[in-house]
């Protein structure tokens, strides 16, 4: 311990002559650490978010959005005809029509009341209008109760009140509304004063804005209502048999055109694509931040190499003198490594403080979760290791200075 102190003391004395240079390296280490740790924590959060499951059998689902032109009759007939055509397609397991889809980007939101005349809703949720096929189409797991039967499904035109009497909700929402776990069989109210009995609970179904909102309750609160959404613009959700997705998607346009040509098929896209589109910004920002972090580390390392190389050339005589007085190469090498450790260590401590402060600011301005102190400490160790590696080359050059340099430069 005392020996180490004896070694540190002359370094500190020498550093006082190079105050500004040392400060610049320390500051650089601090900022680099603060930025890199915050970036990595953002990337980590995005990765978690992108990995969260929608609850659907994503690999085998695709959607078709369609609008009819020049029809005056009830869309109910047209939708029924289309669904019959879709369900009879080879490679298709089942199909249904809905007013929204997890990760779809647009959907319907509403408040949930536990009493008919409640002022402020107990929770907010997205509402999916589905039929008896939807459970099989989505591939959602039913954890309690039952799904809707065909005779429960009501017709719903825009602007009308709901006429359903039963409802299915996600487990998360059920727990939020009924913490004691007895959600099944309870009665709840959406914006209309019609009572809805909870007949089933599903494991998971994300909301349409799962990729947009960072609020966990907004992401996982969903209810299903046995309503046939009758509109001129519709979205069909189709589930293909495993391995048959591409074939079914290729054939679906012709199949629907065979029903009627008086339509515009706006898109046929696999669910995979929807997920990709939803998380596009998170994905690209992760790449960008990753590249910036790598560049930052390289720049900092280069800066350390450049400045220490200069210090070495400046101290050639002293180093030669030390060698002449009996210091081994190892001692010279150790001197520079230790000097760097002192500077970078101080910088890292500052960096931890700046990084945590920056994280607090980021968490307040953007919707980010806080990073743990342990996380940034690990980051500090990595930056210290990098700094030690960067100083190795100049330090080796210093160690290679012959004792004769003490007199040669005089």
């Amino acid at each position: 311990m005392a020996a180490a102190f004896m070694e540190v003391l002359p370094i500190l004395k020498a550093l006082r002559r190079n105050k500004v240079g040392a400060m610049l390296i320390g500051l650089q280490i601090a900022l680099t650490l603060a930025i890199v740790c915050n970036c990595l924590s953002i990337i980590q959060q995005y990765r978690d978010q992108m990995a969260s499951p929608s609850g659907l059998d994503e690999a085998n689902i695709f959607t078709v959005s369609n609008t009819w032109v020049g029809h005056a009759d009830d869309p109910k007939v047209r939708i029924a005809a289309d669904l019959a055509a879709l369900r009879s397609m080879p490679g298709v397991a089942d199909a249904e029509e809905s007013n929204g889809l997890p990760l779809g980007g647009s959907g319907w939101g509403t408040g949930i009341n536990l009493k008919p005349d409640q002022q402020h809703p107990s929770a907010s949720t997205t509402e999916y209008f589905v039929d008896e096929h939807a459970l099989a189409v989505y591939g959602i797991k039913l954890t309690a109760g039952r799904w809707f039967s065909a005779d429960e499904i009501r017709d719903f035109h825009l602007g009308e009140d709901l006429s359903a009497a039963s409802i299915v909700m996600t487990r998360r929402l059920a727990r939020a509304l009924f913490p004691s776990g007895d959600a099944l069989g309870q009665v709840i109210y959406l914006s209309a004063p019609t009572p809805l009995r909870v007949v089933g609970i599903v494991e998971r179904a994300q909301s349409p804005w799962a990729g947009i909102s960072h609020d966990a309750s907004a992401v996982e609160n969903s209810v299903f209502l046995p309503e046939r959404y009758l509109n001129n613009y519709v979205t069909y959700v189709v589930r293909a048999h495993p391995g048959a997705l591409a074939t079914a998607m290729g054939a679906v346009r012709d199949r629907l055109y065979a029903v009627t040509r008086q339509r515009i098929i706006l898109s046929v896209s696999p669910f995979r694509e929807m997920r990709q589109r939803t998380y596009q910004t998170e994905q690209s920002l992760s790449v960008l931040l990753g590249v910036l972090c790598a560049l930052l580390l390289i720049v900092t390392a280069c800066g350390i190499v450049g400045l220490v190389l200069y210090w070495v050339s400046q101290r050639r005589r002293q180093i030669g003198m030390r060698r002449a007085l009996g210091a081994r190469r190892m001692d010279i090498l150790r001197y520079f490594q230790l000097e760097n450790l002192l500077i970078a260590g101080t910088g890292a401590v500052l960096g931890i403080a700046v990084g945590l402060a920056g994280n607090t600011w980021l968490a307040a301005t953007l919707v980010l979760t806080r990073m743990s102190a342990g996380y940034i400490c690990v980051g500090a160790l990595i930056v210290l290791a990098l700094s030690q590696a960067a100083v190795l080359w100049p330090a080796l050059r210093a160690a290679a200075i012959p004792p004769a340099a003490a007199i040669r430069d005089l």
Partner: protein
């Protein structure tokens, strides 16, 4: 004279230490490249889309919901105003005609038939004739419809250049008819290419609406209402609505956008008073049960309120400028090494009669000489950064609008180079100051 001597000195000394010079150029170049990439996009998204009129065009806001249901509002009267109006208020303001020009509008979705004979969806906008003059829409053929067409709910339409080129290639279609959702409309005008970025005239369609394309066609507002064209934009309601289009018109749902042209500040003040009186009148009539609250915002204020810089850009701008800071600190360290390494040479110059200022200027020239190539490197990296921003879809929006905000605008090249030189010189201020303070005798002795 002196400058060319300093330049010669600078280049000679930089060539003596190529590795250090290259390192400095690269480091500053990376910092400039990263920050300019972000700055370019941020600047393009905040650019004034209509410079000679942005102080004359205003959006009125009226509190039609009151404290109970106003967004973010509790019983204490806090909260904010909606960016759209109810149909009732929009028509009220249109009928009052208190502004020099005014238009209510909403987005519609129609369908027509392509040249190949298949149905084609088109995004359109229902607006009043004033729209085209208010927003300085250029015309290739024909012109706007008339005020009489507005009043008479005429079946007339103005097409965008793109839609006209698609449906009527190489001809002037003015006077012809086009079938839209099963109804015949007479084409009265074809716009020239017009795609303002940000699309300031309608920023109400969610966070990316500033980077959406301008509409493909325009029909009179009154015609759209009579044809019951459904709203293709965002709509918010605070209560259940009676069924059908009539129910929506009579409701307190907000879904209509409104712009007024008020040429002078006095006119804007008068209009705000008029808005207040309008809301007070609604209160007297028993529709509003709260103190009138109205706002009037010009283009700049409106954009500041409505355009939220995407999270991706906010995060990357913080990181990019942090990166620049690290690069400049780095350059400062390297610069310090350079100048201290040349203390002997500078000492000789001092001893031969150069003043402190001379030495200082010499060092400034030398750093500026490093800054210029760093600016060029930064510029190249900015181009690369913007290209990757497009490739990675960092900014959500229509292809044309995204291309616009991810390309270097006027003067950005000069700004980049000036920023690079200034940043380099600033980072070297302390090393320069130190170099100019050298004691000549001391340096000579050390030699």
């Amino acid at each position: 004279m002196m400058l060319s001597y300093y330049l010669e000195l600078a280049i000679r000394s930089l060539r003596r230490n190529v590795a250090l010079t290259a390192l400095m150029v690269t480091v500053v170049g990376f910092g400039i490249g990263a920050s300019m990439t972000v700055l370019t996009t941020l600047r393009a998204m905040a650019v004034d889309p209509i410079p000679n009129k942005s102080a004359q065009l205003f959006v009125p806001q009226i509190d039609a919901w009151g404290p109970p249901t106003r967004p973010g509002g509790g019983a204490d009267g806090s909260g904010q105003l909606f960016d759209q109006l109810t149909y009732r208020d929009a028509t009220g303001l249109m009928q009052a005609r208190k502004a020099a020009r005014q238009t209510a509008m909403y987005a519609v979705s129609l369908d027509t038939v392509s040249l190949e004979g298949v149905p084609l969806p088109v995004d359109g906008r229902a607006a009043y004739a004033d729209f085209f003059q208010m927003f300085e829409v250029p015309f290739r053929y024909g012109g706007p419809w008339s005020a009489a067409d507005d009043k008479g709910r005429a079946n007339v339409v103005v097409l965008s250049a793109r839609l006209a080129a698609r449906l009527f290639p190489h001809v002037n279609p003015v006077g012809r008819t086009i079938s839209l959702s099963g109804q015949e409309y007479r084409i009265v005008g074809v716009m020239d290419v017009w795609n303002p970025v940000p699309r300031f005239y309608d920023l109400t369609q969610g966070p990316n609406s500033g980077l959406a394309d301008a509409d493909s066609l325009f029909v009179p507002f009154s015609t759209a209402i009579e044809r019951e064209m459904p709203d293709n934009g965002s709509i918010r309601c605070n209560a259940r609505v009676a069924p059908g289009f009539a129910g929506q018109l009579a409701s307190e749902c907000v879904w209509i956008q409104f712009w007024a042209q008020l040429p002078t500040q006095a006119a804007a003040r008068d209009y705000k008073t008029f808005l207040y009186n309008y809301a007070a009148e609604q209160r007297r009539l028993g529709r509003f049960h709260w103190k009138p609250w109205v706002e009037l915002r010009d283009v700049h204020q409106w954009m500041a309120l409505e355009i939220s810089v995407p999270e991706t850009l906010r995060v990357s701008s913080v990181v990019a400028f942090g990166f620049l800071a690290v690069c400049l600190i780095n350059a400062a360290g390297l610069m310090l090494a350079r100048f201290s390494g040349r203390a002997g040479e500078l000492g000789v110059r001092r001893a031969l009669g150069a003043s402190r200022w001379d030495i200082g200027w010499q060092c400034v020239v030398e750093t500026a000489v490093v800054g210029l190539p760093a600016g060029v490197v930064g510029l190249a990296l900015t181009f690369a950064g913007l290209a990757s921003q497009r490739a990675l879809h960092m900014v959500a929006g229509s292809a044309a609008a995204v291309a616009r905000v991810t390309s270097l605008g006027d003067g950005m090249i000069a700004i980049t180079l000036v920023l690079a030189v200034c940043a380099t010189v600033c980072s070297a201020l302390y090393p320069i100051w130190r170099a100019s303070r050298l004691l000549p005798a001391w340096q000579l002795k050390a030699q």
